[in-house]
Symmetry: C2
Subunit: 201 residues, 2 copies
């Protein structure tokens, strides 16, 4: 039997969806609480501020996707490259399932970052860094199996794939829809297979 | 002698900076007008709504960068690939020069797109499409000169480079700073030089 979600959890779930659809600044606490029939006083019982609330929403989001990643990334029934491939598909699926429009909470908060406090910005940077590290470790495994071009730097390549995903979400929101994610997968695979080549940077 | 900017122009310039720094939803018309000492009545003399205002800001932004692109992209003193290379540097420079944090107005409005009307979303999609077409034509020229891998689809590759740039802006805002743009250039060059490889999409 499912436990009934607590009032705090219900606010966090509604806030996550609202931020994904309307952005951090576009999310009004008043309408949000009305949508889950929670009085304003309760909100300030749980959260000191809107930013404190966003930190809780980000924490829950990051923990859920970290858990999902760790399960997939250690799935020994798939080769390391097959796990990466599934991740490239999974991120589109998750972003579409979360809300009425594809979105990534990290990208949403990054867009709002100039107006956010140092603590929340550090939390956001840490969420990206954890994703990068998990993916870099998997890329290194795929290199050991000879499935991914050995000359690639795993950490940099992981960061690149995440950059590319965040860009695809932006383009999907701007009207490209699923085509943006198809491009993401195509070019991500090309990089993994063919390498980053010589750089003049 | 420079002409004195009109009141309308001053509001548009201030709105551009505010949206780049604070996002569309985070930009309040009241504080914006106070910052340029324009009474609220004047705003509604020029713009029917905040969204109508955003359309004017986007129009000015898109036209300025289109003009800049066309000048660079037709500069016969540089090879087509050298023009692409300069564009990859220029976009970071422009995004840094615009406001206190790196930003792209297209990305800002894309993040807010779910809450925007159809007309503004179409304008945004068109701005991305024009950028793609200009860049695709230049990539095709570089292919004719043998400077860029001939197997790449110019339109898809242009879209990819723009995805990657938008992702880099997100990551720069989330704390990666200039490193995000260095990654953007490195992987963009690698794709142009080595191609997109076979795709399973």
């Amino acid at each position: 039997m499912m436990e009934k979600p607590s009032t705090r959890d219900r606010i966090v779930v509604a806030g996550r969806r609202a931020m994904l659809e309307q952005g951090y600044e576009g999310t009004g606490i008043g309408p949000l609480l009305a949508s889950v029939a929670v009085p304003k006083g309760s909100f300030y019982h749980f959260f000191a501020s809107k930013e404190d609330f966003a930190a809780a929403v980000l924490k829950a989001y990051a923990e859920q996707y970290r858990q999902q990643r760790l399960e997939l990334f250690t799935d020994a029934s798939l080769s390391p490259l097959a796990r990466i491939e599934r991740h490239l598909v999974q991120v589109e699926h998750d972003s579409a399932a979360e809300a009425a429009v594809p979105g990534c909470l990290y990208g949403v908060l990054a867009q709002a970052a100039p107006g956010l406090g140092e603590e929340l910005r550090a939390q956001l940077h840490g969420a990206f860094a954890t994703w990068e590290q998990d993916l870099a470790a998997l890329i290194a495994q795929a290199q050991q199996e000879g499935e991914v071009e050995g000359g690639l730097d795993p950490a940099e390549t992981a960061a690149h794939l995440i950059d590319l995903y965040e860009g695809a979400v932006i383009r999907a929101r701007a009207g490209d829809g699923p085509a943006a994610f198809a491009r993401f997968r195509k070019f991500a695979r090309a990089t993994l297979q063919r390498g980053a080549g010589a750089s003049r940077d």
